[in-house]
Amino acid sequence: MESLSFRLKSVSKTYKNGVKAIDQLDVTIGAGMFGLLGPNGAGKSSLMRTMATLQLPDSGQLFFNGQDIFANKLAFRKKLGYLPQSFGVYPKSSAYRLLDYFAHLKGISAKKERQYAIDRVLELTNLTDVQHKAVHTYSGGMRQRFGIAQLLLNDPQLIIVDEPTAGLDPAERSRFLNVLRRIGNDNIVIFSTHLVEDVKDLCHDMLIMNKGKQLAQIEPKSAIASLKGKIWETQLQEQDLAELKIEHQLLSQHYNEQNKLIQRLYSDAVTHELIRSTEPSLEDFYFLSLKKQQS
């Protein structure tokens, strides 16, 4: 099996309203789950759409297995599975009927092949039992699984899913991520999210971006390891904290079970008596990347 790679070379995209959605991105992605992490407005969806050939970059090139994807979009789309952040369906159409529709669009011409492919993706996404229900009546999670089902029809080598877990309850989220895990082994799965947890659980590699810029591309494990001994936790008052922020990087604050505000700090060394060292998390890396960009 050829080794899969997806490469972005100096890709930029600016919208008519002046918003720079993608700014000189240089990324190489290999087989497996790849997380694209960034806050709202980071340019994740713009990047996803560009990677799915739905919009042209202003500059730069995108290569899949060494081939410029915009040179022959159709050839690229044969290997692509894409699930946008939000999508709708023709009302009153069943999942089976819609999947049949998409199978035609994806070039599965023979009837038996179509039926086989549809049954397989229904099975993979646990939708077999509700295949004849109208999709527009599905719950959010079922709908997202339907989205995955449609992208799997052509057994794609590159799967792009844009914030698929947004709005899902924990059970559905877990079910959904399991589906992604099952399909992510032999393919490239590019998976955007603003939830660090999703990336941590799933991805072997990730890109953090904000305001169109690439902040870091790193394996989640390495990201966490890189912060070993540099993350600190405390419960300081606002006044004390202000002093501390001069020398140390405040990454995040959250309330604990006693409704006490806990601060997490980044620093090579801390001597303050009320500050204690703690285990780093991927979230710390993410916030640190954002803070670095701000500063």
Binding site: K16, A52, F70, G88, R97, G107, I118
Partner: protein, 1086 residues
């Protein structure tokens, strides 16, 4: 709490900041303005003759008539404003938030409805302003414009335009409010147009009910003005009759009730009041479930154990298969909507009733022959298909985006051309389905009428090969417009703007076919000749616009919006990736073909202009100035004619060689000949011993000086040969048809100035020396050698002396046994022949094979006329009579008598005599009438002065009444008299000049000559006795039988009538024949 003012203001602000509102308002202003000044001749001059006959275009009557047309066009705008009022909150999703706010539904609905109403009214005012500005621009100096009256515009707006818009606007508002679909707005607007047509055709015999039910109040207006004559229409203020008021009240009340109902049902709920489920969904579910369950069981093992990659097939065959599948899905989507079903049912019902009406106009019942069903009803139905195409094509192009599926589809490995092709094919299949429904209605109408001559081939050819290409071009255009702008309303506006714009082009002086976008060349079908020569021009024009459509298709493919709507910069960047050598080559071929065909069409139009240069006013004035002085020039008379006519039906060509023997019958010597030749033909004149001294080639008038003066009684030969002007793509410049040729004497050269002066006064004794028909001949002897192809028969006036085949052609020689009136017809065709001998006279009917239904009744008419007339007028002078059918495309009249031939329109063969048994048996009556002309029209010819038509048509029509009565009885006669009287009354209403008394009836006043004349003479006959009337007619005939020195006038006839009647009866006779005293049909007339 939000009050209604906030919502109202927001709505008004939204539209006043929308370019679309201004574009549409200005477009309607411009439409009204340009249409008004175009009608006023601003672009190409006023085409009117005398002031008395000018219909002013700014009278209250005309403005109201205009407003009815504009109201219908304006419905599109109404649909946008009223439909969008509630739809906007749903399409943007605002309703989910807004409906939770503390807002009263009365405030919300009033604000929405009120704001749309205000905006709609403003634009409607602007529309009328377009007319008003047009009126001011033309000014009262324009002959078509009378003095300005501001009240006219106020009444038109207040009584007709606004109430109609409020009514229909309310329906649209409620329909969209219930369905939450913008399409419903347009379907509702279209439904009102169809509903009016439906009502028109269902209630045409109940004018008051129709007037009440018509939502546009157009029929209330027409019912109120039905008695208005021409001058009243030119002067009176708009009527606000009780009928109009009731109509307005009724519809406003219905609208108020509907609004009330909607208010009651509306409740700020998430779900719409009325949902539109798919018709086929449940059925599909079941089928799929059964099929799929089996498959799932079969493939589950595969899923679990071995995994096989699906086989992706991107071959052309597979892509086309996918395209077809997608097209079917699109078609299902369109036709399973309730809106489509509703529109289809309504349009088909409308067409059904129109078809019924076409076949039965009330006065006449026609067989539901295919050409009749494919004519006017199809033109109307094709408009519905075109508008459906605009709407549904927009829906399909924007379908994925409307359902937020565009990114899913856009990322699939499907070519743009597949998706685009599927949408085009889906709409094309919808159009096909609509045509099929039309076909079903036609067959249904034919079955319903017991007519079983189903011409499936003609249906297929007309619907698929003649109409469908034009629909396909609209399909391509529509797809292009909706691709150009992803905004459905903008796309629709572009399309309707284009469509309306094309209709207005001729008024703007642009008449070339090169600019008439996708406007097919008009076709008329005859059972004899099919579509004839017109198909050539039609095909060329269609190909030209198909090429334009193909270019648009290419442009659509370039601009196709895959997934999301992109800005123009990015769309432009896609262009290069969407072009390749093959597509550029294909584009070049279509572009070159378009230009090439355009060039050919342009050349053909130039050729037509050269062959028929436009006769300008100044050309006409110069001609009259130069030639009118010769109007009374002494000229010899034609006494003998020899013609050699060769007809070539296969290429619509003819060649005529002929000669006239000209005899000086004047009492003075003649040294000059004034000749004009057939306007549509190329004629060479050859006169021995004469030279051409003056010529006007555009009016084809020539003057020759004779080398030797022609003394009284002297004669000379005028030789000539005639060819038709060459046929072009768009004009058949020959009367020769592939089948059913009908040529009249107007192809032959005549000796006179081209235009006859206005009909001479009755007192003009000099004019009475000439008969009514022409001055250059009294009676002539005619010999005709006529040839045609070997499959056709050819006819000329007179007796057939010889018939033979030579050189693969049929040759005939006809000769008139005695001199006849110079009123000829020549025919060629493949005919079905029916004949019968009656008192030694052979009666023949030559007609098209499928049109023999009425032949027997026609023969009955001939026999009855022979019997009636021979008893007191003398025997019929020929050994045979030939009724020869001609295609309805060749002449508008029903029949005429040319010596012993009766050229008869094929329409007379289409009359459904069984259905008309209790009305008038037209085939019988027409033949009786025409044959009677042998005595009154041929044997006795009236003087060329006023009243001539009374001596031909009134007398003939009276005798026809008697024949009819003798054959069918008094009861059917009463119907016939009723029809004649109505004909007179209807004609009176349309009369633009003063009504003339019968004895001075003008040529064009047929309603007097036929309608009043027949009944008046019948009443006189009842008064004086029919035997006495026969004696009068007999004496009149014997006294003035041609040739005579002095041709009879109506005074001569009335004198004979008075001679045979008592003095006491003379006032009655004079009242009917010599005055215009009110003439009321009394029961005793029946």
């Amino acid at each position: 709490m939000i009050n209604n003012i906030a919502v109202f203001k927001q709505e008004i602000r939204y539209w006043l900041s929308s370019p679309l509102y201004y574009v549409l308002s200005i477009a309607f202003f411009a439409f009204a303005f340009l249409s008004f000044i175009g009608t006023g001749g601003y672009f190409d001059g006023v085409q009117t003759s005398t002031e008395q006959t000018i219909a002013f275009i700014n009278t209250p009557y005309a403005i109201a008539q205009n407003s009815f047309l504009f109201t219908k066009a304006f419905l599109f705008f109404t649909a946008i404003l009223m439909g969008y009022a509630l739809y906007r909150d749903h399409s943007t999703g605002t309703f989910e938030v807004l409906y939770t706010y503390p807002i009263k539904k009365v405030d919300y609905l009033l604000a929405k409805f009120g704001s749309a109403l205000v905006l709609m009214s403003l634009s409607a005012v602007l529309l009328l302003l377009g007319l008003l500005v047009g009126e001011l621009l033309l000014g009262t100096g324009n002959p078509k414009v009378t003095s300005f009256n501001s009240l006219t515009y106020g009444l038109t707006f207040g009584v007709y335009l606004l109430p109609t818009l409020i009514t229909i606007g309310t329906f649209i508002f409620v329909a969209v409010g219930c369905s939450r679909q913008l399409l419903t707005a347009f379907i509702t607007a279209l439904s009102f147009l169809l509903a009016q047509l439906l009502l028109t055709n269902v209630f045409f015999s109940q004018p008051n009910l129709l007037a009440l039910l018509d939502p546009f109040a157009q029929y209330a207006f027409e019912a109120t003005t039905s008695n208005w004559d021409f001058s009243t229409k030119n002067s009176e203020q708009l009527p606000i009759s009780t009928l109009v008021l009731w109509n307005r009240l009724l519809w406003l009340a219905i609208s108020a009730a509907l609004l009330g109902w909607f208010y009651h049902r509306f409740d700020f709920q998430y779900e719409p009041i009325i949902s539109f489920p798919s018709f086929t969904l449940n059925k599909l579910k079941k089928t799929e479930a059964t099929k799929s369950d089996q498959v799932t069981t079969a493939t589950k093992a595969l899923v679990k154990n071995t995994y096989k990659k699906p086989l992706l097939d991107f071959s052309i065959r597979a892509k086309l298969k996918a395209l077809f599948y997608l097209a079917i899905q699109d078609l299902k989507y369109l036709i399973s909507s309730k809106a489509f079903v509703f529109l289809s049912v309504l349009s088909i019902a409308t067409v059904f009733f129109i078809q019924l009406r076409v076949c039965n106009t009330g006065d006449f019942v026609l067989y539901p022959i295919t050409r009749l069903l494919l004519a006017a009803p199809l033109s109307l139905y094709s408009i519905i298909i075109i508008i459906s195409t605009f709407l549904y094509s927009g829906m399909l192009v924007n379908r994925d985006r409307a359902h937020k599926m565009q990114e899913l589809v856009g990322a699939c490995a499907v070519n743009n051309w597949q998706v685009l092709g599927a949408k085009l094919t889906g709409v094309a299949m919808m159009q096909m389905l609509q045509l099929f429904l039309f076909f079903v209605v036609c067959i249904g109408i034919q079955l319903l009428n017991g007519y079983h001559q189903f011409e499936f081939g003609q249906y297929a050819f007309h619907l698929l090969f003649l109409l469908f290409p034009s629909l396909l071009i609209w399909n391509l255009t529509s797809c292009f417009a909706h691709t150009l702008s992803a905004n459905f309303l903008v796309g629709l506006t572009l399309l309707l703007g284009l469509w309306f714009g094309i209709q207005a082009l001729p008024q703007l002086g642009l008449r070339s076919l090169l600019f008439q976008y996708n406007t097919p060349v008009e076709l008329s079908y005859s059972d004899f000749n099919g579509y004839g020569h017109q198909l050539l021009g039609f095909g060329l024009n269609t190909l030209y616009w198909l090429c334009a459509g193909a270019i648009l298709l290419f442009a659509t493919r370039l601009l196709w919006i895959r997934a999301n709507v992109l800005d123009w910069k990015e769309r432009a960047r896609h262009l290069s990736s969407r072009t390749n050598t093959a597509s550029l080559l294909l584009l070049s071929i279509f572009l070159l073909s378009f230009l090439g065909l355009g060039y050919v069409m342009h050349q053909a139009e130039i050729e037509d202009q050269n062959l028929y240069p436009k006769i300008s006013k100044s050309t006409l004035a110069n001609y009259k100035k130069t030639w009118q002085q010769y109007d009374h020039l002494a000229l010899p008379a034609i006494t003998d004619i020899l013609l050699h006519i060769d007809l070539y039906p296969e290429d619509n060509r003819m060649q005529i060689e002929g000669q006239y023997l000209l005899v000086n019958t004047q009492k003075e010597s003649i040294d000059t000949l004034l000749i004009h030749t057939g306007f549509d033909e190329m004629t060479n004149l050859n006169i021995d011993q004469a030279e051409l001294i003056q010529a006007d080639s555009s009016m084809q008038t020539y003057m020759y000086r004779l080398h030797q003066t022609l003394q009284e009684g002297d004669s000379l030969l005028l030789k000539f040969n005639i060819q038709n002007k060459p046929n072009t793509y768009f004009s058949r410049n020959s009367n020769v048809l592939a089948n059913g040729t009908f040529i009249k004497q107007d192809v032959l050269p005549r000796l006179s100035y081209r235009f006859q002066e206005q009909q001479a006064a009755l007192s003009d004794m000099e004019a009475a020396h000439n008969h009514f028909y022409h001055r250059d001949a009294d009676l002539v002897h005619l010999t005709t050698n006529i040839s045609t192809n070997d499959e056709q028969l050819a006819f000329a006036p007179g007796v057939c002396r010889e018939q033979f085949k030579q050189g693969g052609r049929n040759h005939f020689r006809y000769e008139t046994p005695q001199p006849v009136k110079l009123n000829f017809s020549f025919h060629s065709g493949e005919y079905a022949h029916l004949s019968e001998t009656h008192h030694g006279i052979k009666l023949n009917v030559y007609t098209e094979e499928s049109q023999t239904q009425n032949a027997a009744l026609m023969l009955e008419g001939l026999k009855a006329a022979l019997d009636y007339n021979a008893t007191f007028l003398g025997n019929y002078p020929y050994e045979d009579i030939r009724i020869i059918a001609f295609p309805h495309t060749e002449e508008s009249y029903t029949a005429t008598l040319t010596t012993n031939n009766i050229p008869t329109s094929e329409v007379l063969f289409n009359i459904n005599i069984d259905q008309m048994a209790d009305k008038v048996q037209l085939p019988f009556y027409v033949m009786a009438h025409e044959l009677t002309h042998e005595w009154f029209g041929n044997q006795v010819m009236p003087a060329g002065v006023e009243g001539a038509k009374m001596l031909t048509e009134s007398i003939t029509e009276y005798i026809s009444l008697c024949i009819y009565r003798d054959h069918f009885g008094e009861e059917l006669l009463a119907n016939f008299i009723d029809i004649q009287y109505q004909r007179y009354q209807n004609g009176l209403k349309k009369e633009k000049q003063e009504e003339m008394p019968l004895y001075k009836v003008k040529d064009h006043q047929q309603y007097i000559a036929y309608g009043k004349g027949s009944v008046a003479l019948y009443r006189i006959a009842q008064q004086i006795g029919e035997a006495k009337m026969k004696a009068v007619l007999k004496e009149y005939l014997s006294t003035f039988k041609a040739p005579v020195e002095h041709y009879p006038t109506t005074i001569d006839f009335i004198n004979i009538l008075k001679k045979h009647t008592e003095d006491a009866q003379h006032p009655f006779i004079e009242s009917l024949l010599m005055t215009t005293d009110p003439f009321i049909l009394e029961s005793k007339d029946k």
